[in-house]
Structure formats: C-alpha cells, structure tokens
C-alpha cells in the first residue's frame, strides 16, 4: 500500500536525517580532513555527514517505493503548550526569579490544559514553589535568583 507522500512517516524521517547530513557537510567543509595517519578535526564529521545523507535518502526513497506507515495527525495543543510554558520559564528566570517564573510555567500549563480549575491550580502552584525553592535554594544551595 502506497500512502500519499505527505503522510508517509519514513519520508519525513529520512528528510530530517538528510537535513542534518547536509548541515554537517556544509558547516564542516573547512574543518580539514587530515590523513589516515593524523586525522583532522573534519574527518569523522564529514564521514558522518555523508552517511547521514545517504541513509536519509535511502529511508525517504524506500518509503516512496515500498510505502510506509502513515502519519497520525497529532494534536497541536500539547506541543504548543509545553513549548510556550518552557520558554516563558526560560526567559523569566533571570530577570524575575524562580517564584515568578514558576508562576508563569504552572499558570500557562494549567490554563492551557483545557481542564482549568482555579483553586486546584493555585494549590498546585503553592506546593510546587515551596518545593522548588526549598529543595534547590535551601537544601542544594544552588545560586538562583528567587525574587525579582
């Protein structure tokens, strides 16, 4: 059974590998191959780049000939939600500190989960923030900014 290209899993998997292969070869073009005796910094990266390109092409090509399992459509919401929550934490931790960055992360995840309950979310936040500050700042003494 040949599915449409646009839905063949292996077609995309192959493209990813080929992409990294090309990237490795392009960035690695000046690294210096050296000799078999004294391998340069570019030797292994370029070899890996070629292998990845070939494997990527074979995997993609094979899916066109033999077909492959079709891609199940994924829900976009979890992907966006997790990414946004993590990014918010990342960019807030240095300027605003742990307490507010945690608020952003927990707030975004709770509201975005589609089953938001205010009291539950507040309680969760309080527990997590006490745990996080207690464990990382007081027990493990990792130098975090806690407050803005």
């Amino acid at each position: 059974m040949k599915p449409k290209i646009s839905r063949a899993k292996d077609f995309y998997a192959g493209l990813i590998f080929a992409f990294f292969g090309v990237l490795a070869l392009w960035e690695g073009r000046h690294y210096g191959m050296g000799t078999a005796n004294r391998m340069g910094p570019g030797y292994l990266p370029n070899v890996l780049g070629v292998i990845l390109c070939l494997l990527g092409l074979i995997i993609s090509g094979r899916s066109l000939w033999l077909g492959s399992e079709t891609l199940k459509p994924g829900a976009l919401r979890p992907l966006v939600l997790v990414t946004v929550a993590v990014l918010a934490f990342t960019f807030l931790i240095q300027p605003l500190g742990l307490v507010l960055a945690t608020l952003a992360l927990v707030g975004i995840s709770s509201i975005g989960s589609g089953e938001f309950r205010l009291r539950e979310a507040v309680l969760l936040y309080l527990i997590l923030v006490v745990l996080a500050v207690g464990l990382f700042v007081y027990v493990l003494k990792i130098p975090f900014r806690v407050w803005p």
């Binding site: 998997a13 990813i16 391998m39 340069g40 890996l48 780049g49 891609l71 997790v82 993590v86």
Partner: protein, 500 residues
C-alpha cells in the same frame, strides 16, 4: 575468595553508612514513584536529577541514581498489574498476565510474587557483578585504543539491533547522535566544530539538555496527546501472600528469568526492557499448558519481573568495568560520573574501590529496602495513580526546567533542551527510537579519540582493528549480531517480541 569477602566488606561498609543509606532510600523511593506513574520514566528522572548530583559526594550520587533505575522496575509492575498500563517500558509484558490476575481478585499474590521475584533476581545479579566485575576489569586494563574502538562499535551495533522498528532508522539515529557528540572544541587541533557562532557551544553539548529534551519534554507532549483516562483497578488488595501452588508454579520461572535477565543485561543494547520480553516469550513457549497464558498465569508475572530486575542490574557490568554504556540509562550514569570528575572505565575499580564496591553493595541493600517497603506501602502507590495528569505534567515540566537550568545557570541550556524536545517529538511521530541517539551522543567523543589514537599508533593502517585478536573478536561479534537481524526467522521473531 578472601578477596571477594574483603571487597564485599568494603562495599557494605560504604553502603551502610547512614548518609549513603539515606540516598539509597531516596533513590529507590523516587524510582518506585516514577515507576508507578505512567507519564515519566527512570530515564527522564535520572536526567532531571543529574544537575542535583553535582553537589553530592560521588558515592551518594551514583547510589541514588542506580536506585532510581532498579526501583522503577519494582514500581512499574504495580501499575502494570493494577491498571493494565505499563508504568515503565520494561513492565509492558507484566500487564498481560498481571492485570488478568488482578481481575480475578488475585492482585495481592501478583504484586507479592513480582516483588519477591525482583528481589531474588536482584540479589543474584548483584552476586554476578561481584564475581565477574574484577576479572573483566583485568581484561579491560589490557585493552588498547583499537579494542576500545571496536567495543564501542559493538555497543552501538547492539543498540541498533535491539531497538524496535526499522534498522535503517536506528542506524541513522546512532550516526546523528555521534554527530551531536562531536560538537565543540576539538582537543587535537583547537578548532571549534559546529558551534554556529555561539559561545555556549565551545565546550560541546552537555548531556542534560538532550536527555531532558528527548525523554522529558517529548514524552510529556506525547502523553498529553494520548489523553487516556486512567481507571485504577480498585479491587481491595486484601490477600497478599501467594498460595503454595503459586510458589510451585513460579519458582522455576523466577530462576529462568533471573538467568536470562542476567545474561541479556550484560549484552550491549540489553537491559531491563529486552530481558522481560524474552522471558515472557520463553515462559509461554515452554509452558505445559500455553492456553493458560493471557488468562492470568503467574509464571508470566514471575519470569519477566525477575528478568527485568536482573537485566537492570547486570547492565551495570560493562559500564562499571569497561566504561562503555550498554543502554541509554547507563549512558546517563556515565554522564553522572563525568560530572563528578571520574573517568569511567577499568580504572574506577582500582582507583576508587570504595565507590565501585559501595555502589554494588548498595544495590543489594536497595533491593532489600524495596521489598520491605513496597508491599506495605502499596496503598500509597495506588492512591498516587489517581492523580490526574493535568496536575502531574506542570510539576514534571517545572523540575525538568529547573534541573536543566541549574547545571550552568544558563538559559541557553533550557532552550537547547526545548529544541531537543521538539526534535524528539518529531522522531516519536516518525517512529524513530531516541535511545540509540543518546548512546551515540555519549560515545561520540570517546569513539573519535580512540579511532584517531589507534590510527596514529598504527601509522594510518586501518587493518590494526583486524590484526589484534581481541579487537577482531569484538568486531566479528558485531558483524554476527548484524547478520542475525537480516535472517528472516529472526526478523519475524524480532517483530513479534516487541509487538506482543
């Protein structure tokens, strides 16, 4: 013999110190917790805690992380039996018979036999490490660069062969992992590779961001997509003790599972997951009445549970003696050692005997703690299962973020983890296993260094890998493993083993 006793005394002396006992307890409790919870596994937890271990003494760090790995095997079986969802990948097969037993009101005996089988297997496997660790270390000390290079190739081939799904994709994942491992300054030439103009990549990619991204973030996204409603099998777990017939039916399965798991754990690419699958298949095949399987046969719980714990433990052998990780969890353990400034390899046993033997002794202590604590605490674990995922995932997400950030106080690391998370999500969508990638990533720099040095010493003659007998033997094993997968018979069973 006196040597062994002396070593064991040394080990228990370390493992029973209150401080290390405490970290062992923390490790096995955390392991059971994440084992019970379906959304998070031992791998993500170890990755999350890697930064934390920075401030601990090396013994405490490794004892705790090891405890998480084998503790998760105990916890995972609880979820498999009571909810029919594997709490941990290695407990997938326990669902088959365990859940059927629970439906027949025999959850108690199923849980008990799982715990006892795990304990028995864990004790034997610890003994095997004690017996085989030192001789293997002696052999490893004679290894040159050529042997190490071949050994790493074997490890990577093993990881590919034992990954499920397409061989080609698993190979591509390994090569991609190797490439990620090469990012950063090359020690020989001083050239910085693949840093794309950033300062942060000068020293290469740390192992926390890819581990958290691939096994933490990607896993959370995948779990939220599934949106399964968890229904806990709330039959009263009253009678815990297995009956006499239960014991009679399972003791042989436990022995077989232990032997199988101990052997498969040592193999490159092996570990808990593979062991439990093979054990279940074996028990089903040799059963006098195979029709009982699928309807709550206790051997189908006892065998795989023994096997996964034995496999989890013996997979430490190549990591401890050769410094070469056989599976993704061991790759992170290597990372934990490097954080502490310890070079994994045969030197660990001779230079840091208290660490080596302390860790091994702690495994037995940890197994004992698990058996003593788990059965009475089963009520608490069951209650944990009823926590909805909408409350769990923000907590997991938060600790993943804090953990990654705290390694270098760097936002760049968290961004990188997010990137790996997205990549990992795509790979999951396209049926590419992330475990071979992590192995390749950890082995990348070591592989390159040994390749270069071996070639330098042989003056550019690549036959050096074939003319040295040990190296040749290792390479032949790798070729043999590869050939096995091409055989149609094996190919069919390989599909069956992982799909069942």
């Amino acid at each position: 013999m006196t040597e062994i006793i002396h070593n064991l005394m040394l080990g228990f002396g370390v493992a029973l110190k209150p401080l290390y006992l405490f970290y062992c307890l923390v490790g096995v409790l955390l392991g059971t917790l994440v084992g019970v919870l379906p959304g998070i596994g031992a791998l993500a937890t170890i990755a999350m805690l890697l930064p934390v271990t920075f401030s601990l003494p090396p013994e405490a760090s490794l004892i705790m992380l090891a405890g998480i790995y084998y503790g998760a095997q105990y916890g995972g079986s609880t979820t498999s039996i009571l909810v029919n969802i594997p709490g941990e990948a290695a407990c997938v097969v326990t669902c088959i018979e365990g859940y059927q037993m629970a439906r027949q009101g025999r959850a108690g005996p199923a849980l008990s036999i799982a715990a006892l089988a795990s304990f028995f297997a864990g004790s034997i496997a610890t003994g095997i490490i004690v017996l085989f660790g030192p001789p293997l270390t002696e052999v490893a000390l004679k290894f040159g660069q050529a042997e190490y290079f071949s050994l790493m190739l074997l490890g990577l081939v093993g990881a590919v062969v034992l990954a499920h799904g397409s061989l080609l994709k698993a190979f591509a994942m390994v090569f991609l992992g190797l490439l990620f491992g090469l990012v950063g300054t090359d020690v020989y030439s001083g050239i910085t590779r693949y840093n794309f103009g950033t300062r942060e990549l000068f020293d290469g990619i740390g192992f926390v961001p890819p581990a958290i991204g691939l096994f933490g973030f990607a896993e959370i996204i995948a779990n939220m997509e599934q949106k399964e409603t968890v229904e806990v099998f709330t039959t009263k777990v009253r009678k815990m003790m297995p009956s006499r017939t239960d014991f009679q039916a399972s003791w042989k399965a436990i022995l077989r599972g232990t032997a199988l798991g101990s052997f498969l754990g040592i193999l490159p690419g092996g570990g808990a997951l593979l062991s439990s699958f093979v054990s279940y298949t074996l028990e089903k095949k040799i059963a006098a009445d195979p029709a009982r399987f699928g309807k709550g046969a206790i051997e189908g719980v006892a065998g795989p549970e023994a096997a996964n714990n034995a496999g989890a433990q013996t997979s430490f052998i190549p990591m401890l003696t050769l410094g070469i990780p056989g599976n993704a969890v061991m790759a992170l353990m290597v990372g934990a050692m490097m954080i502490q400034g310890i070079v994994p390899g045969p030197g660990v046993m001779t230079e840091r005997p208290e660490l080596f033997w302390g860790l091994i002794a702690s495994m037995w202590v940890g197994n004992l703690l698990l058996v003593v604590l788990n059965l009475p605490l089963i009520g608490i674990w069951i209650r944990l299962l009823t926590i909805p995922y909408r409350l769990l995932f923000p907590a997991i997400l938060l600790f993943c973020c804090i953990g990654t950030y705290s390694v270098n106080n760097s936002t760049f690391d968290v961004l990188m983890a997010t990137g790996f998370g997205l990549l990992g999500y795509l790979f999951r969508k396209f049926d590419c296993e992330p475990a071979p990638l992590i192995l390749g990533f950890i082995l990348g720099p070591m592989l390159e260094e040994n390749l270069r040095r071996a070639m330098l010493l042989s003056r550019g003659d690549p036959t050096v890998f074939l003319t040295r007998p040990i190296s040749l033997g290792i390479l032949l094993t790798a070729v043999f493993l590869l050939l096995l997968t091409v055989l149609p018979v094996i190919q069919r069973t390989r599909g069956v083993v992982f799909k069942e």
